[in-house]
Point group: C2
Chain length 398, copies 2
């Protein structure tokens, strides 16, 4: 127990917070300071003018009518009518979920954290898509999981490659984390055949599927896609109101199963007791009799913006640049020819007025640096068109 | 990778959620169902009629005036004016904290979890008081800390015993978790001399102090007690509006230090991004120009209730029963003579109309079963008086 004054000076933090240190967001903030005029195409949020603030405000006013009792502890799973509304919505995408199996969380981000806590011990394997949502990777690594990436193409996660990976792994993975619909970051959607194959494989090999579905309701072309949860009730499904209402509400959910619901209940209750109860009610009151129409209206806005971005890319991009064509959601994925480096290009892009998220952040091993995630949902068409011109300029200047 | 169908049937959950399975709360719910007439003296919440629901509601109405922008992501540390208000309040208890070092959390329970994540790797030692807040123990164990209890007497944590324990430990503990003021569950307050000795010892031996202070503002006799944080800026301080406004708001905070603030920021941002932003503002608007008066009024209510409980105990308890005399907060601690078992007595107490929390839940090793935590804040005096009579009956019937 002899320590030098130097060693005592800095409290020893844990290994497991180290994965949280590396974050794309401080870098983005620095870039925004570097050029405050630059338009940010890196986010994953609805545009401010689409947020139904009056409707939510009225929902909040109704919530307060429930009085002081709801300002006490209670409703660990969350306000029952909201869980019933969620179950009814999930049924429209094919999944029959008991509201008792739904747990309201502080956004889907907390759902990701709770899923990791429920399944992962240090050294366990977690499979993710590669690329995948970067802030899910940080959570899995913070729980000392070994993350293994499974490649994604335009039809979603490559289930045949997953099978090969499973054969080579030293032990059974705890779960596979996937965003099968309007994937983050690529915008692609897993085909029906691959969904079936993935569910069969998970049953055969004994790993859980964690389906993160923040964008699934935002379909542009045809009916919404049935969820993985609709194919297998043991899928752990993560949902959120962040993309269809507003992210600052911090209302998401986990839909698990009779076998897992107590585990999710326990870990939520043990770590922050429960969500704030007024906003949980406000989301219910705002959503009831409104959310379907609101989503239909926003789909139209986002579809036009996607079309503007696709048209801009087709017009401006040089030969050898490829991109995905999403049928919904917020993102598309642009890949440059060999020799380009989207990390290295980003300062120049910022100076030219466009900030994107470089691909390296979305890979467990940070290995791929020739792509970028572009958000098409948050800017009007003219600005998207202009930004694609500037992106082409940036590429030409390399 | 050969698995029987049986093994595949139940998804393997993690070791680290096991500590969350054992919870006093489901047991309490069963007891409440067993006798719905029984009065619950086990909670740690303000009574419903003391919650300033109209004031909070108006605070919420003002918050919505900030518009759609605050429904986006943002303000990971929390609404700046609220953090300034918190810093000003902490100064009245002697601690000079930069609002930049304050992070708004989903109640103090999340503060406990974040502190564990920032400091604890599996196998690390965490010191707690014995007895201590049971839901802090669950969190530390879920992070695979080894919890070591330090005894508490009427002057708080026994710092001389802590010194002996430190000499015997195989390695330096990461932190000591303490509720020094109106302690949970005993209601005692650490003396000024012990506070000084504890801070000196933590600096000498190189462990962090995590000061959980949910009740510190609720002083009954004289001025509020200066915090441990006032003696050492490196103390990690956990605060909450749960006990002075309402627990359902889920607004608490961590006050750390320039050296630790980034770690707390990162782990909050990584796990649930940030608190819900409307309620964070509502708490600010409701508190400004009101909270001091509100706290002063509630202190009077709680003091009268404490007096009623102390008088009832003095009148009703048989020889050999002892209890603490808290100068603030919500709880006192009753200890029965040798041979009694407060776990075993609880069903009979429930049938006689009083539910308490048995002491075993508050010890890392569950070893002490002759005490109980009684909450005096949530019931009117007459009911407290009657309950002490029934408690005496229960003890006499053993």
């Amino acid at each position: 127990m002899t320590e030098t004054a130097q060693e005592q000076a800095a409290p020893a933090t844990s290994r497991r917070i180290e994965p949280f240190v590396a974050s794309v967001w401080p870098w983005v903030h620095d870039l925004e300071e570097r050029n405050p005029e630059a338009v940010f195409f890196g986010g994953g949020v609805p545009p401010t003018d689409v947020i139904p603030v009056d409707r939510l405000r009225h929902g909040s006013e109704r919530a307060w009518e429930d009085g002081a009792d709801i300002l006490l502890y209670g409703e660990v799973r969350g306000y029952r009518p909201l869980r019933e509304l969620i179950a009814a919505r999930m049924l429209t995408r094919g999944a029959n979920v008991d509201p008792a199996d739904i747990l309201i969380t502080n956004g889907a981000q907390q759902g990701i954290d709770l899923a990791a806590r429920v399944f992962v011990d240090p050294g366990d394997i977690v499979l993710t898509e590669a690329p995948t949502f970067m802030d899910a990777l940080r959570v899995f690594k913070s729980h000392e999981a070994e993350t293994v990436g499974v490649p994604v193409d335009e039809f979603g996660l490559q289930v045949d490659v997953l099978e090969t990976i499973l054969d080579q792994l030293p032990k059974r993975p705890k779960f596979l984390y996937t965003v099968p619909t309007y994937q983050n970051p690529m915008g692609v959607t897993m085909s029906a055949a691959r969904r079936r194959a993935l569910v069969d494989l998970s049953q055969e090999r004994g790993f859980v599927i964690v389906e993160d579905d923040p964008y699934g309701d935002l379909s542009f072309d045809g009916a919404p896609v049935p969820t993985l949860k609709s194919l297998d009730p043991d899928v752990v499904y993560l949902g959120t109101f962040s993309k269809i209402l507003a992210p600052g509400l911090r209302v998401g959910w986990v839909a698990s199963s009779p076998r897992l619901r107590e585990s999710f209940f326990n870990v939520k209750e043990g770590t922050d007791i429960h969500n704030e109860r007024i906003m949980t009610r406000a989301v219910f009151h705002a959503s009831q009799g409104f959310l379907d129409d609101h989503i239909a209206a926003t789909r139209e806005i986002y579809r036009r913006r996607r079309d503007a971005m696709l048209a801009g890319l087709a017009r401006e991009m040089p030969v050898g640049v490829h991109w995905t064509t999403p049928n919904g959601g917020f993102f598309l994925w642009v890949t440059l020819p060999e020799g380009y480096d989207t990390d290295a290009m980003l300062s120049d892009a910022t100076d030219r007025g466009i900030i994107y998220l470089p691909s390296s952040w979305f890979y467990p091993d940070r290995s791929w640096n020739r792509s970028m995630r572009l958000n098409f949902s948050s800017q009007p068409e003219e600005r998207i068109t202009e930004a694609m011109r500037r992106l082409a300029e940036t590429i030409a200047a390399v």
